[in-house]
Structure formats: structure tokens, C-alpha cells
Symmetry: C2
Subunit: 624 residues, 2 copies
Amino acid sequence: MARKEFRDLATPEQAHEAIRSLSLEGGIDRVPLSEARGRVLVTRVDAELDVPGFDRSSLDGYALRASDTFGADEADPARLELVGEVHAGEEPGLEVEPGEAVEISTGAVMPPGADTMVPVERTDLEDGTVLVRTSVAPGDNVMFAGADVAAGERALGPGTQLTPRETGLLSALGVDEVPVRSRPRVGIVSTGDELVRPGGDLESARGQIYDVNSYTVAAGVEEAGGEAVLYPHAGDDPAEMERVLREAAEGCDLVLSSGSTSASAVDVIYRVIEEQGELLLHGVSVKPGKPMLIGRLERSDSAGRSAYVGLPGYPVSAMMVFRTFVAPAIREAAGVPEPETATLTGRLAREERSEQGRHRLLPVGVTTDGDGEYLVYPVDKGSGATTSLVEADGVVEIDADTDYLEVGATLEVRLFSPDRRLPTLFGVGEDDPTLNRVLDRLVRPRYLPIGSRPALRRLRTGAPDVAVVAGPVEPDREPEGTELGSWDREWGLIVPAGNPAEVEGLESLVDRDLRFVNRTTDSGLRTSLGVALAELADERGQDRHDLTAAIDGFDLGLRAHESPARRVIAGEADVALGLQETAERLSLGFVSLGEQPVQVWAAADRIDKPGVRELKSALRKKLE
Amino acid sequence: MARKEFRDLATPEQAHEAIRSLSLEGGIDRVPLSEARGRVLVTRVDAELDVPGFDRSSLDGYALRASDTFGADEADPARLELVGEVHAGEEPGLEVEPGEAVEISTGAVMPPGADTMVPVERTDLEDGTVLVRTSVAPGDNVMFAGADVAAGERALGPGTQLTPRETGLLSALGVDEVPVRSRPRVGIVSTGDELVRPGGDLESARGQIYDVNSYTVAAGVEEAGGEAVLYPHAGDDPAEMERVLREAAEGCDLVLSSGSTSASAVDVIYRVIEEQGELLLHGVSVKPGKPMLIGRLERSDSAGRSAYVGLPGYPVSAMMVFRTFVAPAIREAAGVPEPETATLTGRLAREERSEQGRHRLLPVGVTTDGDGEYLVYPVDKGSGATTSLVEADGVVEIDADTDYLEVGATLEVRLFSPDRRLPTLFGVGEDDPTLNRVLDRLVRPRYLPIGSRPALRRLRTGAPDVAVVAGPVEPDREPEGTELGSWDREWGLIVPAGNPAEVEGLESLVDRDLRFVNRTTDSGLRTSLGVALAELADERGQDRHDLTAAIDGFDLGLRAHESPARRVIAGEADVALGLQETAERLSLGFVSLGEQPVQVWAAADRIDKPGVRELKSALRKKLE
């Protein structure tokens, strides 16, 4: 079947419109009150009874006739005959006549004849006579039937989301089951031969990766008030994919798939939609999200249709398109409006250029400056990176006409999670095990291990609070700011346990035929290695580049402090650049090449930010 | 057993301290990733593998050697031999030699030999030869193994609460089960002979009421990150109460009970705590909350102890004490910090006086003024009222030294529910069925049916946005503000179906021996009745008071518009004041006494508040 042609890309507004037209509403659930928290009432609840259902004493004391206490005071108490008692949960067995009083407890039914009560503190009891030392008016300290809620009153309106307080009011009305909106059922179909469900075995040589989107989108669906249903992974087999898609359509109000970018996958989705449903839109002028697919899938039992939306494959792209286009529709169907806190307004920390002509979704991180104002910075790791998921807090929409945003521009951020729990600290710099332990002591820190040099650059741009720098720092590149703390770490060459190749130092690396694994040039370890090699070159009267050229693997740099060591474990290298601590932790051999300082620098205007103070104090404790 | 004496009431800070000392932490749960949303990591998660696990093509195109493209451009493409293809999820079956290219899809493994890739858009294919129309550098469009997450990197810190994004990162790392903090188990024990669980039959004559606190507190526990366990209602039987308390202590980290104010109930709680545990505190200098009881219950298996806190009995008091003292401890134990949005700062709308010498918890409602600033007003229905639960948004603490708060004072409000969903509209006034239908069309309105006259008074104090007034308004009491809309309603006497007593009008009520049920003096219906009786008195040349005195039940006023009619249904009255619409809805007879206007007035400074605009438009639609 030929693919339907959509000549022009749809606008973002047309995509919103198409999704709105899908109508994701489920039906009505009747749920027990104890499970109703967070659900949304379908209909108005009017009170079916008076609360309280009887005239009720508000205090412990005596029920009596007000007229019997007129003129009574401390000095001249009214004297009434005690004729009985009534407790909460009891039917009064007697009537109060003039001159009489009945002992009554809080919450008990006012006995007939009594029109008021006096609290026990204002009375004395003497041989069966109650001395009332105050005068009371009719109705004092009595809650009349219906005074709290009167039968027929509007108690809760349709669309009310049930918090503990509404639960309380419904309990008072005796309601133990409530009609609430069904949560929209959202089926999640994952396709692609390369995807493996977390927990499964990964064959990296075959290019397999773990399936990220299924779980991320499922959690996003639940957060938006929907019910997520994960369908078995379909791979790229067209027949199996078609079967899974149809099964999901039968069982769900909405089916989401992500990626499925391979031609065969798109063909299957097209076939299912075209044969049994309706394709509303393919291709939106938004980056990312261009290949978005929106349609309806007919159900075999003719019980309506299921909506279908195809999301991009890269996790951050999928999340941004989900957040921008799909989550609002699920919330609408679930009757759970977006909390006010789901958006915030902040200033852009560094300039951003955009290609003109395409609406853009920009993943951003949010931090606060020294004055507690929100600072917004683009997360630019590339949409293929899953780490961007936790590095970005939300998405900014940039319209097609904007090609440049200046520093300080005011932006509206739609947060990925509506309960605004932003990081308390934003740090960048060297990957270091001591630092990792310090970070463990902080509440919600964000730390991006981008390396020492880029960290100093970014500290100057104004977004991060702190930069962590390892190794020698050139004097003219001294960080601007305040040093919060520093420590030394021993670095050198990591070798297999027992050092079977008898590596002795840098000379071995240069002079012998060893497979080496380096760190990236951003890393302070690499800088120290460079300095050591330059010294060795000086000693030998050789050129430094001849030395590095002699090292097999010198140009292959890995990002994290443990990665080179793991290559040694895997037998893919004989020697790796690394830390003594790493070698010890992984039970490997180690040849020391020296110590290098690790310094934590804070931007000058962030010294008093609570997260920075916390870091300073954690550093002090750790380093003591 | 004698009760332990606590000579002085504890301070609120001592109560916080005592609860903190109880240590409510549970253990560690291992949960599947798909059920981990909102849970809190116990330990740090480091990456156990590189992501991606292989050098990965970022686009569709051709994998090749960068050196083969040096100098290539649109006019002078490099010409490479196409030697094969590699798709996502496949192991490359060949090596790329100089002068060769391999077709590669997004996400596929880079074949050995190739050090870069060129996107398909920059190429042409001619008879097995790839024309590359641009030069590329090594590494272009390739995500190297570990570039996203490198093995050994710190991925997520301990204490991280898992949102969809963290779920995504964990998926990428292949983690399908995570160690999270157990949610503290909180047992809820309800006592009191007068309590009936919602859904059960209520005997009002015996003074029974529905159990409000169990469900409210349970929902509050869940909201704070705990797991609520409702134990069977124990009544006031000491042996049964003791059994339930002990059972709850065995199974829970914390046991809460509320009310249990009867002497025998307190005795049982004392006995259980004293015999098997430790009483930390009884009595706190806070209003409400004075009788608060804090202690530990020993478990029979010596597997630690359960904490115990006794809450006040009145629902709003219980909620305020729970919110102030208990919820923070549950959150701490669950590792779920309070969202920033759980508190807000606003101005006091009307002055408030306090008794000096006792720390006070004041239930407040929150609304916004015309400028969108928060206005805070005390909810003063009395703590016995369950409706206060939905009328209050949070609690303000007033310390023991403050006896007066002036209008405009800045207050910090701790909201009952942390997701700040405040009412969009705050209205007060007449209870009216037409109005109820209009309210049903609005999103989160708050409407307090306090009657017409009090509504006009409160509109002037500045908290409400609108007042709804029924019946004749005296010229000098004309509301200040703008009328948003009005309609007429037919009022009169509601009688049993068929009007068996042949009531003909006001004369019947005055001259015959009929049991009448009135509305409260606040109600516009009552005002209209008063006017009609005054006219009748004029006609007859009689005193108005003689007429009202002749009506049996004239002084008994009920609050809601349906309540009097329900007395007629119950056979407790022959005639009730009410609306034609009510009579019709309840299939009762009706004798018309006229029509009265219902007017909706908005405060002058709220005309442009979104909720008021919404109301105005809903009124227009309704009344058209």
C-alpha cells in the first residue's frame, strides 16, 4: 500500500487540534472511598442527609433548659437536679424537665426538653445537684442537626479531584463509593530489532540497546493521570508488529509507539491505520517531532476507536513531544488539570541560536542564581543521549520565526514533572570518586561530569554554581570564584591484577608494545599525563609528539574515570589511565605516576545559595 | 492504673522533637522499574555498562573512512564503493577498507575500519558507487561507546525520587528492579461507640455519625508517602480496643488514633502504652491539639517498636495536627521531601484575634485578589464542622505571644495538599439550585452557602469574589460591586404531595394548627416570608409578631434550601418554606407565594479575575 502523501508539514497547532479531536475519554469507574484519592468526580455530590443528623452537644457538661440559668453566675449558681446521663452513641432515655439537668458528653444527642448545654468547667456537682455558675442562651454549645451540612446542599462539584479533605466530607456524608472518571488506558508498543527490555541480556556487538522509551513514556502516562499498559516488545517483524498494534488498539483508548523509524515499521503502522482506521496527520513542522503520526485505529468489535500517536525515537525527543502534545490530552481526558507548578518562568543563562522556519522544542535545565531567580540553560548533549533525560528539567518552545535568543531572555519552561523539585545545586567538572561520595550526602544535587576544562568555561557562562577541576591549572586560566575545598588523588597506570606485563612507569608505556586506554582530553587526568609525558620528552631530549605517537591507543579517550580500567578487565587493553582508588576498588594492579589536586570552585554570586553552603559543609566533613 | 502526670503542657517544639525521636523508617523494598515511579532510591546507582555499548551511527547514511572524503564537496564528490549494509540490531558482517562505504541506519553499529559516517542527504548513489558531496571528520555523526553514560559513572544519587526521567536513565542502564525505601506503614485505629464506617447504616437517634477521620487521615498518610492500614472499628469496648491497638502495633511503623476522648478510651491507650511501651508526652500547648499523646508501643516479637500518636477528634483539628506534626515525620521516613509548593505566603484578608498564651493552629482558606496575590482568610465554622475540611486550604501557625493579626499581615500557609490547586473562584451567599447548576460548569469553584445577608457583609471584608443574594435587598444595603447576572425563583410553601391539608397560602399557616419548618434568618427566602407576613399583618391591622408567634415552628430555621422539604417528607412537618423547583424535584405539593430575584454580585476589584469572568460567561449561557 502506498503511503498517503502529506504535502506540507502540519503546524504545531494543527497537531494539537488533531490530538484533541481523538477524544481519549474512558467511561466511569465506581471506586471505594479508600481508593479514591486523586481521582476525579464525574457528577455532583449533594448531601443526602443532615450532618450531624441530630442536635449534638459540642462539649462535655450538662444539658438543660436555658431559662433555668437566667441570672446565674459564680456567686449565685443555678441549682438543678441531676436526673441522668447521655453518652456519645446512646439514645437519650429521658426528657429534661424544668429544674433538671442531664450529664452529657461531647458528641452525644441532646435529650428532649433541653435547649442548651453548659460545659462542665462552669459547674460543680453537690450531692446530685448541679451548680451552674453561668447563664447560657438557647443553642449555646450545641451543633444543630444539619448545621454542618444540610441535606440537599451541594457538597462537591463534578470535576473535583479528591484530596484527603474531600474524602473527609464524603465520609461525613456516609458515601463509601464514588463515581469517578476512568483513567484513560494508554497502550505502549515498542518496536525495533535493536531494543531489549531492561533486565534482559544485551548483545552490544549486535548493536542492541535497552528500551528506554517504553518505561519513560509509561511513567509519564501515569503521571498525567492515565493507566499505562506495556505490550510485549514486537521487534521489527511486520506480522508480529501488526498483531501487537491491533491488540493494543482493542484494549486501549490511546496507543503510543516511539521510534519505529525503519521503513518497514512505518509501513506496518501505515497499513494498520489505513486499513482499519484513519490517518489524521503525518509530519509536523516541529524539531524534534517532525515524523509525528496521529490517527485512529478502528476496533474489531466496533466499540469505538483507539487513538494512535507515533512519537520520535530518541528519548528526550519522545519525552518533549509527549509532554507538549500528548500529556495535556491525557490530563484533559483524566480530568486532572495541570498543576500551576508545571510551568515556570526564568531567564536564559546563555544565548541560543535556532534554525529559522521550524518550531523548536528545546530541552532545558533550570537552576537558581544567587538571588533565587530561575536561570534556564539549554541541554545540548544531543537528543540521542539518555542522560539528557535527567539533565533537563523541562522544555521551552521556540517559534519558527525566532532564530536568536539573547542572554537574559524571559522564557516559559514546561517542566517534565509537575511537582517542582529542582536540583538544589548545579555542578560541572571532573568525574571523581571522592566527589561522588560527597554528592551522596547532598539533597538533589545535579552534577555533570563534563571534565575540568569545559567546567571552567561553563562556570564563566553563569549557569553552574560550582566547577570541579582536577590536575594542573594553567595560571591564566585560574577560575573566577571561591574555592570551597580541595583534596589530592593518586593517579597512574592501571594494569591487570599482579601486573603481569611488569609495567614500571611511563617509560614502559612509551617504549614497549602495550595497548593503552586514555581518558578524554577534557579530563584532568589526561592533562597530568600530558605534563608527565612532556617532562619525559624533555629528559630524553625528544619531541613530546613522538612519545605520544609511540603509545598505541593514546588518542582513544574514554569519558568516565572507571571506563579505561574496565577495558583492562575486558582484556581489550594492557594499560589504562586511572586512579589508584579505582584500581583498588576493581582489584586491579596500579603503577603510580603521582598525585594531582582536585579543587571545587564556586561562582562568586552563588556562595550564599543554600545548595552551595550545603556542599561546602559536606566537603569540610568529608575532608576533615 | 493511674495516669502518668505531665505537670506542664509540652511546647510545640517538644512535640516535634518527640515525634522525630520515634524513627518511623521502614526497610528497603526491591521494586520492578515499572512500579518505581515516585519511590526513593536507597543507594547510589552507578552505571554498570557503557551507554551506548558500541560506537553508534546517529543518522541514516554511509559509514566510511574520514580520510576518503578530504576535499570532497558538492561539485567534486568523493566516489566510494558500496560494499554492504548494516542495520540497527545487526552485527556488522564486514570491515570497511579505504575507498569503501557501507550503508548504515540510525542506531546501527559502526563497522570496523570506518571512523565516521555521512548522512544520506549529502550523498548520491550511482550504480554501486556512493558519491559523497561533503568532507567529514573522524567521529562525525557517531556516538561513541560510553559517550552517553560511561561505565562506573555516578548515575543517580541516594535519596533520588524517581520521576519518568530517572526511570528512563535506569532503563538505559538495563536496571529493571530498584532498591527503594519502604513506605512507612501507618495503622489507623478508630474508636468511639458513636462512629459508623461510611456505607453503613446510621442511627441518628442514637447519636451515630460517620467516621470521618479514618479515611481523611488515611488519605493524608498516602499523600505523605506512607502506606495506610485501616483497622476494624473498635467501638468503645476496652478489651476490643486493646486488641486492635496491639494488632496495629505489631503490623505498623506508626499507629494513629483520633478522638478517643472518652475516659475509658484514654485509659485503654494509657494501659497499652504503659505496659508495653513508653509514653513520651501527653498534652501539648497548642490549640487545637492539647490532648495529643505521643509514645511507643513495644512489639511482642521484640522486633522493635511501633510509634503511637493520638490525634484530636474533630476532623479539622485532626487534619491540622496531622499536617503540622505527623505528616513531616512520615515524609522524612519515606524520603519524600515536601514540595516547595506545599507552603505559600499571603496577606490576611480580615483581622484575627487570638487568645494569648497558647500556640494556635488556624484553619484558613486561600484565594487571590484582583492582582493575583494570595489572600488568606480564617475558616471559622468551628472545628466540629466537617465542611471546614473542604473550605480550608491549609493551616497557619500563630505563636503563643501573638494575640492580634491585622488586615494585610503576611502569613505563611502550610497547604493541606501540596499540589497547589486552589479554587479559581470564591463565592458566598444564598443556597440555590440554579446557582448549583451554574457552579457545576466551572473549574474548581468554592461556594459557601452562608445566606444572603452574611454574604453581603463578607463581600465588604474583601475575601470573597462574589456574593449571591436572594430576595428583597434594602436600598441602603445595596451591594458594592458589579452585578454579573440575576434570575427569578418561585418561592412558597412546600406541602405533602396532593396537599392533603389543603393549605391555601399564608393565611392557612397563620390561622391553622400546622407544623411549619422555616429557613434560617440568613436566607433570602426567610426575608421574603417576613415581608409577606408584614404585608398580611398590615392588611389585617395586626402586629407582625402576633402572626409569627401563631406559626408553630416559625423560629426553627434550617440552613439548606431542601432541608425543610425533607422534614415534610419525613412527616415531621406539614408545611415547609421552599422553592417551587425543590417541591417539583422531590415530588411534593407547592403553594406559591411569589417570585424573588437572585442576584450575583462581584467585588469591584475582582471583575477581571479569570474565575469571575468564567462565572459571568457561565451565567450568561445559563440564563439565555
